[in-house]
């Protein structure tokens, strides 16, 4: 059974003040088909976890391991990780000048599959997914993320999730900046992907709102670079009521 396994992960970044540790020993196991919500206050290390798994060069792994089906992800280039079945929906996707959405999607699909998709079926898949995400057809001819609104960027991320069919997806604050209608459209896209491919999901969020539309099997609270508490969906409900205060107090005492 496909497995994304994170063991005792320590990660730092270089800042002007020197090396700063962000993750201080994270353990997490995600199986195929499972949805794990990672919650936590600002600055707790949620996004660092996401970008470290994806291989962003800014983050240095000090110790620990991340494996996908036993393969060492940390040894792989960023693109090799994606080809191994990993996907990161970014909070702030960047503009790519000169590359249309159509061209980008086809190139990415060809790269992850190792062969070009059959043209007719591919065009149909793209159209269907775009329609499902309430994206206008004119999107296809625009340059990637150029002039996209916040909501359009998020839809475009989920469009890729649906089309590239990864085995594990990390959604980094996909809910931020979305109104309730857009949130529902995006959440439906994630749920479709889960159903279609038995996707494992690591859903990173500050707020519990998105968990009404994407139901987590597990909730982990990350504070000060460590998992501070774990539980089922009921933990999210408790956070909804109480916020992160009790964790922050505990962290300060430590």
């Amino acid at each position: 059974m496909p497995l994304l396994e994170i063991k005792d992960l320590h990660v730092s970044v270089e800042t002007e003040q020197g090396t700063k540790p962000i993750l201080n020993g994270v353990d997490l196991t995600i199986r195929e088909g499972e949805t794990h919500a990672i919650m936590g206050p600002n600055g707790s290390g949620k996004s660092t976890l996401a970008y470290t798994i994806a291989g962003h060069p800014k983050y240095h792994v000090e110790s620990g391991s991340v494996t996908l089906d036993g393969e060492d992800l940390l040894e792989m280039t960023v693109d090799a990780r994606a080809r191994a079945g990993l996907f990161l929906a970014m909070q702030y996707p960047v503009e790519i000048p000169g590359v249309t959405v159509t061209n980008f999607l086809r190139t990415a699909k060809t790269a992850v599959d190792g062969q070009a998709p059959a043209i007719r079926g591919w065009i149909k898949d793209v159209k269907t997914s775009m329609a499902n995400l309430r994206m206008d057809t004119s999107f296809a001819d625009r340059n990637v993320n150029e002039g996209f609104s916040g909501g359009e960027k998020k839809r475009h991320e989920i469009l890729q999730l649906e089309l590239l069919k990864p085995r594990f997806a990390i959604l980094d604050e996909t809910d931020s900046g979305l109104d309730v209608d857009a949130l529902r459209v995006v959440a439906d896209g994630v749920n479709r992907a889960k159903e279609a491919t038995n996707l494992g999901v690591l859903l990173i969020t500050h707020y519990t709102r998105i968990l009404r539309y994407i139901n987590p099997d597990f909730v982990h609270v990350i504070v000060d670079g460590r998992i501070a508490e774990e539980g089922g969906p009921e933990l999210a409900d408790r956070l909804e009521d109480e916020g992160y205060d009790r964790f922050l107090t505990a962290a300060k005492v430590n």
Binding site: P57, D79, A82, P93, I96, P97, G98, T107, A111
Partner: protein, 389 residues
Amino acid sequence: MSKQHSDGGWGLVPIQSRAGRFSSFDVADFEPVSGFEAEWKYTPIRELAALMDGPLDGGRYDFAIETGVEDSGGISVDWVERTDSRIGSVGKPEERGSANAWTGFERALVVTVSGDDRAEVALSRTSFGPSARAAHLFIDAQPGSNGVVVLNNSGQAMLSENVEISVAAGAQLTVVSVQEWDHGATHLATHFVRLGKDARLRHVVVSLGGSIVRVNTNAHLAEEGSDVELFGVYFADAGEHFEQQTFVNHDAPHSKSRVSYRGALQGERARAVWIGDVLIRPTAPGTDSYEENRNLLLTEGTRADSVPNLEIETGDIAGAGHASASGRFDDEQLFYLQSRGIPETEARRLVVRGFLASIIQKIGVAAVESRIQDAIEAELLVSTEAVAS
């Protein structure tokens, strides 16, 4: 005999209309270049002394009519004396480098396009060599003719040249000048264009190799209904300076111009300059004009200067616009593409190809389009290997 006015050595050049620029066929009428002039301020002039001030070898040069072009019936290529009546009928130098070439050339090469079925010719110029030279080319598209003239420049060069392009009434002409010079080559060129009634020209400047390559184009829309497209594509590597100054001179009713230059820059001190002057004279009501320049900076250490200038002297215009933008391809963009499974080399290729495609596809000469695509692929490959080693 008038002489060029000196600007007094204060390093200040008064703002003036593009129409008022001094011109002369004789290099002796021009002041030495200081580097403060509008037309020289972005150019590394110290490396151009041999072309500006020195004597130039203006004799014949070798060229080859490339095979692989379509039937070139309707096109002829001949050497003529500098006293030929066509010489000087289109252009007159406006700066010292151009004037020195004019003063220095001995014979001119004339390409005559006469057939009304589209004919193509590609001239390969590979053996100018490293000594300072002057050249003069005249492209004569006769009334109602239809043709494509391609100049493929490669090898070494220290060359200043003038190209006169006469597009007579009703003629349709495409001119493509491809600069794929060796490293170390220097090439200054001014292309002077005159368009007659309802004449159309598509003019494409492709600069891919050479140390200093400056190809300027002056297009005079002299008669009613004339139409010019000035396109440019460039890919500047480390240490390469590619410059292009376009001047569109709307001087007749209902004339149309489109200027679009796009380039990618990669590597330490890769440099691009575009200056786009458009003048819409009182004689040119109903003018439709648009110009743009876009640069893609692929790495640190590159620089692109992009300067559009628009002068409008009539209230009756159909359209006049300009755009200029320089964008950066950075590590975050690379990360984004790689995180979708696309390897680094492929990611760069994707971005550059996409960026330049909109111009390359407009050239309309299949052999040239695929040649440019191949050359750009090779450039990207070389740079990727350099990064890897």
